[in-house]
Every structure is written in C-alpha cells, then in structure tokens.
C-alpha cells in the first residue's frame, strides 16, 4: 500500500493515483467489474438452484454428500490447472474442439473467444458455481420446517410461503453470497494470467504488466496503486457481505 504513494525513487507522491484514471486503467477496471459481476450473477443463480436441489435430498443421500464434496474441491479449483483443462478441452487443438470439428464440422473455438473476456466468464463459472453451492447450501438448510408448516397452517400456498417467508429470509444470504462471488472473481489472477496473453482486459493482468514489464520500466508503483484500487473495491464488498451475514445469522439463530 505504501508503494502506491511513492515514486520510483521512494519519494511520496499522489501521481500513481492519476494513472488509475487513464483510459487503459479504466478499461481494465470496467473489464474486471463486468467479469466479476457476470460470473457472480451466473454463479449465484445456478449455484443457488443446485444448492436447493442438493438440500432437498435426504441428509444421508450419497448424491447430496458427493455433490457437496465435489463442490468443495471445485470451488478451489482455479489457477493454471483450470486454465490448462479448458485449453485442452476447447482450445484451438482441444479434445472437444477437434471432436466437434470431426463429427459435425462445427468450430467451437471460433475466433479465439476462450482467450478473451467471454472465455474468462465461462472458465470462472467453473469455480464460481461450486463456491455458491457450498456458501449458500447452509442458508437453505437454515430454513426451519416449522416456518413452512406454520405458514401453511395459516393458509399459505407453496407460492405464498416462498414469496412471504422463504425468499425474504434467503435474500440477505443470497446477496451476501453474490458479493462473495464478486470479490472472488475480482481478485482471481492465475487463471486469467494463463488464458490471456495479449492485452490487459482486467485489473490483475494490468498489475502484472506494470510490475513485470521489461518495456515500460518504473511502472511498479502504478501497479501498487492498481492493487490499492482492488483492495478498496474488495474491502467495500466484504463490508457489505458482513452486514448481510450478520442479519442472516441473527434470523437463523
């Protein structure tokens, strides 16, 4: 953080923060926000649906236990290995790319979408959805059967129960999980670093370039300023996440 306020000679300066308003930095920030928001929303919706299906199964169900276990692993399955898996599957010479080409003549690789923002969205969902499952399943489990029975007893239909009881109870946890997914995607680096070799569509890749570039020297402190920008965004998100988490915890206790 200190480096964000120093020039290359170590003197104090606010000049690095000016770089955050450059067109390239704003484009990267926009890319990061789009990537994080889109994968958070897709991951939250699909993950919540999957979590509901899992929690609806009996606690001792093999499917339930195995899905939760696999989700726990996949939620941490990012980085180089994940990027390689996708490249090996749907990259220019990927197994699926070749198979589709051979079988139906379809070119699923296209013009290289996997290595741009659309590709990052798809690949990030691979760990965002499982993360949502393990974060959100406890919220479903926290819905007490007595609440449904009390609602039904008072005259509620299934729709009434979801509308007036279950959804309002789940909403803070859902929004909290959504924020967590956003922060998770916003801070992810390794997967994008492997997939994207040209341009800096997101902030972490721009930081990489600023710190490691052998062409543009003396940009390390700009990289620190970009990192500070990320810290501010993630901090705001996590504060909001904790507020929502506290509310849910109070309801569910």
């Amino acid at each position: 953080m200190v480096g964000a306020f120093q020039d290359e000679n170590g003197a104090l300066t606010l000049g690095n923060l000016d770089a955050l308003t450059s067109e390239a930095a704003l484009t990267a920030l926009k890319g990061s926000l789009i990537l994080s928001a889109s994968t958070a929303i897709i991951g939250a919706l699909l993950g919540a649906l999957l979590a509901y299906l899992i929690v609806s199964m009996p606690p001792q169900s093999l499917m339930r236990r195995s899905t939760l276990a696999v989700s726990g692993v996949l939620a941490q399955f990012g980085g180089v290995v994940l990027a390689f898996a996708w490249i090996a599957t749907i990259g220019p010479v990927g197994v699926l790319t070749k198979a589709m080409d051979d079988l139906v003549g379809a070119n699923i690789y296209g013009s290289g979408w996997l290595f741009g923002l659309p590709g990052l969205v798809v690949v990030y969902c691979y760990f965002q959805i499982p993360l949502m499952v393990i974060v959100f399943a406890p919220a479903f489990e926290g819905l007490r059967p007595q609440w449904r029975e009390a609602a039904v007893n008072l005259g509620a239909s299934t729709w009434d129960y979801w509308r007036h009881v279950a959804l309002p109870l789940l909403l803070p946890a859902f929004l909290g999980a959504l924020l967590l997914l956003f922060a998770n995607a916003f801070a992810a680096y390794a997967t994008a670093a492997v997939l994207v070799s040209q341009g800096q569509p997101i902030v972490p890749l721009m930081i990489r370039q600023a710190i490691t570039s052998e062409v543009l020297l003396g940009q390390a402190n700009v990289g620190f300023a970009l990192a500070l920008e990320m810290i501010v965004v993630v901090t705001l998100v996590m504060v909001a996440y904790n507020v929502l988490l506290r509310r849910t915890a109070r309801w569910m206790r």
């Binding site: 007595q146 009390a150 309801w251």
Partner: protein, 354 residues
C-alpha cells in the same frame, strides 16, 4: 378443570372427530386405530411418552400428515382430504416457529394478510390478539428480541388471529424453563376459555396435561389407553400403562376377590379392569400412611422434604421399596432406620397381573 358445558366461549368452538386413524411409516405403526371426539370448545390433552403417536395424531388433524386410513372431521365436515392450508386451524409449535424477518405484529397478522384482510383491520385484529396475550407493547419487535415464553405467546396470538375452527398446540411449552412453563400454561388455558376454540394440546408432561385440560387422553404405542377428566384419570386409571405413566405408583402385592382387593392386609375396592386372584396393586404414594411401630415389617430408608409435603421411602421385608407421601409435619417425625407399619387408604386401586 372446567366443565365443558358451562364455559363462556363454548358456542364458538366446533366438534372434532378423529375416526379410526391409522398411520404406518414403513414397518412402524405410529397410530393404531385412534378414535377421539372433542366437544365444541373443549380442551383435550394428548399425553404419552415419545413415539406414542400423539404428535402424529395432531399433525394429521392439522393436515400436515395424511392418515393411512381413517377420517378427520370438524363441525361435521370431512377434512381428511382437505389440504392443510384450507383447514382453517391455528397451530402453535414447540418453538422457533415465528418468522424471524417479520415484526411481532406482522407475524400475528400474517394469516389475515393471506385471507385478504386490509392493512388497518388486520393490524387492529393483530393488536387485539397481542393484547390478549399481554404483549401489545412488543408489537414492533422481532422474534430474536423476545424471550422464549414471549415468542410462544406471539405464536399463540398468531394462531388465534385467524379465528381458527380448531387450535392445535404441539408441545408449546417444552422448550421453556419450569417457571415460565407454568405461567404460560395458565395463560393458554385462560385465553382458550376466553375465545372458546376447540383445542387439542399435545404434551409429554403429565402435570401440564392434568392442569389445563378438560379431558386427558393417554396414548401408548399408537393407541388411546384412556380418555377421561384429569381427576378420574389419576384416581381411576383404566389400564396398567395409565396407572404407571400418570403420577407415581407403588406396586404392592394384592389379592382380588369379588371386587375387593386385599393390599397390605387391608381390603379396598378394586377398580374395573382389575385382574382377579393374585396380582399387583398400583397404589398412589398419597394413599399410603406410615405409622411408627417397633414391630412393623418395614424400615424407613429416606425422608425427602418437599415443602408442605414430604416423600418417605420405606423398604419392606421382601426388599422392595415403597414410597409414601405425607404431610411434612408427620413425615419429619420419622428418621431413616425407624421400624414402621404401612397402611393403605380405602380408595379404589387398580390391580394388574404381577
């Protein structure tokens, strides 16, 4: 206990009929031909050990479970196939059933909202219900800001707000501490008498059942062993299970002949259902007196002070223990090791096979 026919709200209650209800879960028969009639405005408590089927019966009446066979009717209308949300019943659960994201008044008004009642009239009605249970000043609080007893009061107000045809209480006091439990059970009875709703109260606490109910049904293994007013249930148990489950009973050797049982050398009336010939008499501790007698066949083992009453345990010559409940003024004259004689009061006893 209150006479059903003389209570103020009786005219607002409806008769409830559970006919030959059976509920089978796999190999387990939770209900085995339960038949139960509740008079309009009556409060019947179902009492029994865990797994006896009492909660299953209540859930079937609520529509939260379906009987394998048998029928449910309320006010003469068959509700067996009617879904739970159309049955017009109010229910108070064991605990934690208030909607935590709603204020107290919104919880109470929830059923009215579902019925299309407009905002002001449902707030008025919900406020009246909260006043009825003494929580009018807590209308804007949330469940987590209330004690367990207050939460159950709100649950009661919520169940009554919709003016249900039947009120169902599923062990509503079991999660509360002893003092609050006694206060709230009296409160439930007061409110029930005031609104006159026919009520089924499920509990495993016999003191609770005996204190609030017009009649108590004792259940065992899915069957109704006896349904009777509390005093009758206590003084004239119909079966060995009831005699041993409700209150304390001593098992004393007895011989029955011609409706008379000979217990501890004294003849007392034998209740209907008693076995004939030799058996075991179920004798209440308060039906025994302990007399100091140097030549007596029993020895005092312990004297337990309980306030105005004390419990005296004596060991008979055959090594079995007998418990007697005496006025403390009498009991405290006895000390462990004293030789004593036990006498049975001439009240009827049930004699079962030994």
């Amino acid at each position: 206990m209150t006479d059903v026919s003389t209570r103020s709200g009786t005219e607002r209650g409806l008769a409830v009929e559970l006919s030959d209800l059976t509920r089978v879960y796999g190999a387990v028969k939770a209900l085995d031909g339960l038949t139960l009639h509740l008079a309009p405005g009556e409060l019947v408590a179902l009492l029994g050990p865990s797994g006896c089927g009492k909660t299953t019966a209540l859930r079937i009446l609520a529509g939260l479970d379906q009987p394998t066979s048998g029928s449910v009717s309320v006010g003469g209308k068959d509700l067996t196939k009617v879904p739970a949300n159309k049955r017009d019943m109010g229910m108070v659960f064991q605990a934690y059933s208030l909607f935590p994201h709603m204020t107290v008044i919104d919880n109470v008004a929830f059923g009215l909202k579902l019925r299309g009642s407009d905002g002001s009239s449902r707030r008025t009605r919900a406020g009246d219900m909260l006043d009825l249970v003494g929580l009018g000043q807590h209308a804007d609080r949330y469940a987590h800001q209330l004690s367990g007893g207050q939460q159950q009061r709100v649950a009661l107000a919520r169940a009554l707000a919709i003016e249900p045809s039947v009120l169902l209480l599923d062990e509503p006091l079991s999660a509360l501490d002893a003092k609050v439990r006694v206060q709230l059970r009296d409160e439930i009875r007061r409110v029930q008498l005031e609104v006159g709703t026919t009520t089924l109260f499920v509990t495993h606490d016999q003191e609770e059942a005996l204190a609030v109910a017009d009649r108590v049904g004792v259940m065992n293994a899915g069957r109704l062993e006896q349904l009777a007013p509390p005093a009758e249930l206590y003084s004239a148990p119909a079966t060995q299970f009831v005699g041993e489950f409700v209150g304390l009973s001593n098992r004393l050797p007895a011989t029955v002949q011609g409706g008379t049982a000979s217990v501890l050398g004294r003849d007392v009336p034998a209740l209907d259902g008693s076995t004939s010939g030799s058996g075991v008499a179920l004798v209440r501790p308060e039906a025994l007196s302990v007399v100091a007698d140097a030549a007596g066949p029993a020895t005092v083992t312990t004297v337990q002070f309980l306030g105005p009453l004390s419990r005296v345990t004596c060991t008979l010559a055959d090594g079995s223990d007998v418990v007697a409940q005496l006025a403390s003024s009498d009991a405290l004259r006895l000390t462990p090791g004293d030789a004593v004689r036990l006498e049975v009061e001439p009240s009827p006893v049930l004699v079962v096979a030994g």
